[in-house]
C-alpha cells in the first residue's frame, strides 16, 4: 500500500511549494524594473526623490498586507512605528548636526537647538545611544518592534482582536502624538526634528545623495518584499491565513495564536520602522504629523488599494494613491478630499481585493492563456479569498 503513496508524493515534491510561482516572479520583475530602471530614467531628481518618499510608505503598506491582509489584524497605529523608526534615525542625524561648532551660538553648545530653546542644559539619557551609528541602526528597528511587542502581547494574550485592537492602536497613535508635541524640549515638539544634514559625515541633502538613498530605499523595499514572501509561503503564512478564518480551530491544532499574531504585528512594525528611517533620510526631517491617526489610516488605504493580500500590490497601491494625491492636489485641492473619500468607499464596496484583484481577475487569466504552455499556475493553492470577516 505504500508504493502508490510514495509515487504520488514524489510527483508532488518537484514543485508543490516553490518560493515564488511564475506569476509572482513576473510581478517582482515588473516592480523591480519600474522602481529600479524605469522611474530613475524617466524622472528628474526632484520627482525621483518624491517617489522615494512614497516608497517609504510602501514599507508600511507591505507590513499591513502581512498583518491585516494575512493575519486579519487591522492596526490603525502604523504611523506610530513609522514615526518611531523615523525619530530614531532623526535623533542620530540631529546629534550629528548639533556639533559644538555648529551650535556655538546656543547657551549650551553641542545639544540640539530645540533643547537649548527649552532650557535643557544637557543631553537627556535616552538621546545618548543615538551618538552611535551602529546602535542607531539597531534601535531604528528594535525600539518600534519592542513597543509593538509590548502592545500586542498584552492584547493578543487576552484575545483582544478585530475592531477593539484597531481602536486601541488608534488611541495609542493619538497619545504618542500629544506626547511628542507636548514634550518639545525632548522631541522637538510639533516642528519635529528638522535641519538634518549629514549621515556619518556624508551630506544627505545633495542631489547625488538623494539618488543614492533612492536606490538604497528601493533595494531595501525589495528586500522586505522578499522577506514577506518568505513568511507568506512558509507554514507560518498559512497559519496566519488559517487563523484569520478560524482562529479557534488553529488553537485546537495546537498553536498558540497570540504568538503568531504578535509576530505578524511586530514584523509589520519592523517594516514600518525601516520605512520611517528611510523617510527621515530622504526628506531630511521627522515630525509628529506622521505618527497620528490620519496618516496611519491613509497608510491602510494604500494597502487596500493595492489589494490587501498582495505584497506587490502594496507597492503599486502606495505609488498610485500618492501619485493621484500629488497630481490632484496640485490642480484641484478641493476635489482631492472627495476623491480620497470616494476611494476608501470604492475599495471597500466594489474592489475589496484592490489592484491585485483586478490584475488577477482581468489580466492574469489572459496572460496565462498566452504563456500557458510554460506552466499553468495552480489557482487552487493560492489563498484567493474575499476579505476576512
Amino acid at each position: 500500500m505504500t508504493s502508490p503513496v510514495q509515487a504520488l508524493s514524489k510527483s508532488l515534491t518537484v514543485n508543490d511549494n516553490p518560493y515564488m510561482k511564475p506569476m509572482e516572479w513576473l510581478s517582482l520583475a515588473l516592480l523591480a524594473a519600474l522602481i529600479l530602471i524605469v522611474l530613475p530614467l524617466l524622472l528628474d531628481g526632484f520627482r525621483l526623490n518624491l517617489v522615494g518618499k512614497y516608497l517609504t510608505y510602501a514599507f508600511v503598506a507591505l507590513g499591513l498586507v502581512i498583518c491585516w491582509g494575512y493575519a486579519g489584524i487591522l492596526s490603525l497605529g502604523q504611523g506610530v512605528f513609522f514615526g518611531l523608526g523615523g525619530y530614531c534615525m532623526a535623533m542620530y542625524l540631529k546629534l550629528e548636526a548639533s556639533s559644538p561648532e555648529n551650535t556655538k551660538i546656543q547657551s549650551t553648545p553641542g545639544i540640539p537647538d530645540f533643547m537649548d530653546w527649552n532650557q535643557i542644559t544637557s543631553l537627556p539619557w535616552f538621546w545618548k545611544p543615538f551618538n552611535s551609528l551602529p546602535l542607531t541602526l539597531i534601535l531604528v528597528v528594535a525600539v518600534p518592534v519592542v513597543f509593538a511587542l509590548v502592545i500586542s502581547a498584552a492584547m493578543f494574550k487576552r484575545r483582544v482582536g478585530g475592531t477593539y485592537f484597531a481602536i486601541i492602536t488608534q488611541a495609542i497613535a493619538a497619545i504618542l502624538t500629544i506626547l511628542i508635541v507636548g514634550q518639545q524640549g525632548y522631541t522637538g515638539g510639533i516642528n519635529g526634528i528638522t535641519d538634518l544634514r549629514t549621515l556619518h559625515g556624508w551630506d544627505i541633502r545633495t542631489d547625488s545623495a538623494h539618488n543614492i538613498l533612492y536606490f538604497v530605499n528601493a533595494g531595501l523595499l525589495i528586500g522586505c518584499i522578499l522577506i514577506a514572501q518568505y513568511v507568506k509561503r512558509s507554514k507560518l503564512g498559512r497559519i496566519l491565513v488559517a487563523m484569520r478564518d478560524k482562529e479557534d480551530r488553529v488553537r485546537f491544532s495546537g498553536y498558540s495564536v497570540a504568538g503568531f499574531k504578535v509576530f505578524a504585528f511586530c514584523l509589520a512594525a519592523a517594516f514600518a520602522a525601516i520605512g520611517g528611517a528611510m523617510f527621515t533620510l530622504q526628506v531630511g526631517f521627522m515630525s509628529p504629523s506622521f505618527v497620528g491617526i490620519v496618516p496611519s489610516i491613509e497608510m491602510v488605504i494604500y494597502a487596500a488599494v493595492g489589494g490587501r493580500l498582495s505584497l506587490f500590490g502594496a507597492v503599486w497601491g502606495t505609488l498610485l494613491v500618492n501619485w493621484a494625491k500629488t497630481s490632484f492636489s496640485e490642480s484641484f485641492p478641493d476635489l482631492w478630499l472627495f476623491g480620497l473619500g470616494a476611494l476608501f468607499i470604492a475599495v471597500v464596496l466594489a474592489f475589496p481585493n484592490g489592484l491585485a484583484g483586478i490584475w488577477r481577475e482581468q489580466i492574469e487569466p489572459r496572460l496565462t492563456r498566452r504563456i500557458g504552455s510554460l506552466r499553468a499556475p495552480d489557482p487552487a493553492i493560492a489563498p484567493h479569498s474575499a476579505p476576512a470577516e
Partner: protein, 422 residues
C-alpha cells in the same frame, strides 16, 4: 476709488526709488526707468544670472500656503493679501518692467508637503521668490530647502524667533517685538504685576511665554502665578478657568490658537470672568480669529500686535478698501494678513535696489530696505532680515474690530536671539 488710492501710493513710493535705481544702474537703458512700459526692461541676462524664471516680460514667483487641511482657515488671509499686493504691483508696471506671474502651491497643512512643494517651486519652476508658510513647523520644514537651493522666502507670521537666515525675510514680528512693549504697557497702565499664562502646546506659545516670564520676573519684578498648556484642538477649559479664579492674576496672558480659542473665550465668559474688569492680554487673537470666536465673547480683551484693521492712516485705508474690493466686503484683515501684504512690496523694492533678481544680490540688498507705503506705517528691514516695526495694543470690541489704545512711540528693533531671554 480704490484704484486711485493705490496709484497714489504707488507713485509715492516709486519716485525716490527711481532715483536710487538711476544711481545704481548708471548707464542702464532708459527704458528700465519706465515702470509702466512692459517692453521696457534691462536685458534679462543682466538681471538674472542664476537661471531664475525671468523672461523679458515676466518674472515668476511662488505662493505656498495651505489651501486644504486644518491650517487653511488661518492661511487664507495671508494668501489673499499676497495676491492683492502682486496685482497692485503688476498694475503699477511690475518689477523691473516685468509682470509678476504667480505659481500657487498647496501645502495642505502638512509639513513634508510644504518641503516638497517648496522644492518644486525652486527646482522645477525656478521661482524668483516665494511668499508663504504660516506655522513655524512649515517654515522649519522648508528652511533647509530654501538654503540648499538658494531661494528667497518671505514669511509673514509673527513667530518665536531663534532663527535667522540669508534666504528668509521675516515680515512678521519675532517674539520680543510682539510681547515686550505690550507687557510694559499692561504693567504701567493696568498695574499688571501677577500674570497667568495659558497657551496651546507647541513651540510658539512656549517660547513666547518663556520670554514673557523672563520679562515679568526680571524687568517688571512681577510674578507668574500659573502657566498652562493644552493640546491643539483642546475644547475643555473649565479646569484652567478654575485655576485662574484660584490664583486671581492681575493679567491673563494667552496664546491659545485655532479652534481652541473659541471654546476658551466662550467658557471664560460663561464662568463669569468679565473681561471689562479682568485684564486679559492675548498675542494670538487677530480680527480673523474674532470672526470665529464672536465679538461678544471676547470684547474687552487686549491684543498685542503690530497691525490692526482699524489703524487710521492713508496707507491702511487704501489697503483695507482694496482688500475688501478684491476679496469681499465681509472679509477682515488681521496682523498676519497685513504682514503678508508687505512681502511682495519688500521684494519689489529690494529687486529694484539690487537691479537684479538674483537671490544672492537680493539677500545682500535687503538690509535697510524701507517701505513707506505699509498699511502699518513705515517699516524697514534690519540686516538680520527681520522688520523694524511698532507694537500696538488694541482692545477688542463687540463688532470684531480693535480699538487701538497704545502704539509704541518708536519702531522696535527685531532681536531674534534676545540676550537675557533664553
Amino acid at each position: 476709488m480704490a484704484d486711485d488710492n493705490d496709484q497714489r501710493r504707488d507713485r509715492g513710493l516709486h519716485s525716490p526709488l527711481r532715483r536710487k535705481l538711476l544711481m545704481g544702474l548708471a548707464g542702464a537703458p532708459v527704458l528700465a526707468l519706465m515702470p509702466r512700459g512692459a517692453l521696457a526692461a534691462a536685458p534679462t541676462s543682466a538681471v538674472n544670472t542664476s537661471g531664475l524664471a525671468v523672461t523679458d516680460s515676466e518674472v515668476t514667483v511662488g505662493i505656498l500656503h495651505s489651501v486644504s487641511g486644518t491650517m487653511a482657515i488661518s492661511e487664507t488671509g495671508a494668501q489673499q493679501a499676497e495676491k492683492l499686493a502682486i496685482e497692485q504691483i503688476n498694475a503699477a508696471g511690475g518689477v523691473l518692467g516685468r509682470k509678476i506671474k504667480i505659481i500657487q502651491e498647496d501645502g495642505a497643512s502638512d509639513w513634508p508637503t510644504f518641503a516638497e512643494k517648496a522644492k518644486k517651486l525652486l527646482v522645477n519652476d525656478h521661482c524668483a521668490a516665494v511668499f508663504g508658510c504660516w506655522t513655524s513647523a512649515s517654515r522649519k520644514a522648508v528652511l533647509p530647502v530654501f538654503e540648499q537651493y538658494n531661494g528667497m522666502l518671505y514669511y509673514p507670521t509673527f513667530y518665536e524667533g531663534l532663527e535667522q537666515s540669508k534666504n528668509v525675510i521675516y515680515t512678521g514680528q519675532e517674539a520680543t517685538q510682539q510681547i515686550l512693549a505690550g507687557l510694559d504697557w499692561v504693567h504701567k497702565e493696568k498695574g499688571g504685576d501677577t500674570f497667568f499664562f495659558a497657551g496651546s502646546d507647541y513651540i510658539w506659545p512656549r517660547t513666547s511665554n518663556k520670554i514673557a516670564r523672563k520679562h515679568v520676573e526680571n524687568v517688571l519684578k512681577g510674578k507668574v502665578v500659573g502657566e498652562e498648556y493644552f493640546p491643539l484642538g483642546h475644547t475643555q477649559f473649565n479646569s484652567v478657568i478654575n485655576k485662574i479664579k484660584l490664583t486671581k492674576p492681575k493679567v491673563i496672558f494667552t496664546d491659545v490658537v485655532g479652534g481652541s480659542n473659541v471654546a476658551f473665550y466662550k467658557q471664560l465668559k460663561a464662568a463669569g470672568i468679565d473681561l471689562s474688569k479682568q485684564v486679559l492680554m492675548t498675542i494670538s487673537v487677530t480680527e480673523d480669529e474674532i470672526d470665529g470666536i464672536g465679538g461678544e465673547n471676547i470684547a474687552g480683551a487686549y491684543a498685542c500686535m503690530k497691525y490692526f484693521q482699524s489703524i487710521d492712516n492713508e496707507n491702511n485705508k487704501g489697503f483695507v478698501t482694496a482688500f475688501k474690493k478684491m476679496w469681499g466686503e465681509k472679509t477682515v484683515i488681521g496682523d498676519v494678513t497685513q504682514a503678508a501684504y508687505l512681502g511682495p512690496f519688500l521684494w519689489k523694492l529690494t529687486v529694484e535696489k539690487a537691479g537684479s533678481f538674483d537671490v544672492d544680490k537680493i539677500a545682500a540688498a535687503s538690509s535697510d530696505i524701507e517701505f513707506k507705503g505699509a498699511p502699518e506705517g513705515y517699516v524697514r528691514i534690519d540686516p538680520n532680515h527681520h522688520l523694524w516695526s511698532k507694537t500696538r495694543v488694541g482692545r477688542a470690541k463687540t463688532d470684531g474690530q480693535f480699538e487701538i489704545v497704545y502704539t509704541s512711540p518708536e519702531l522696535i528693533k527685531p532681536d531674534p536671539f534676545p540676550k537675557g531671554y533664553q
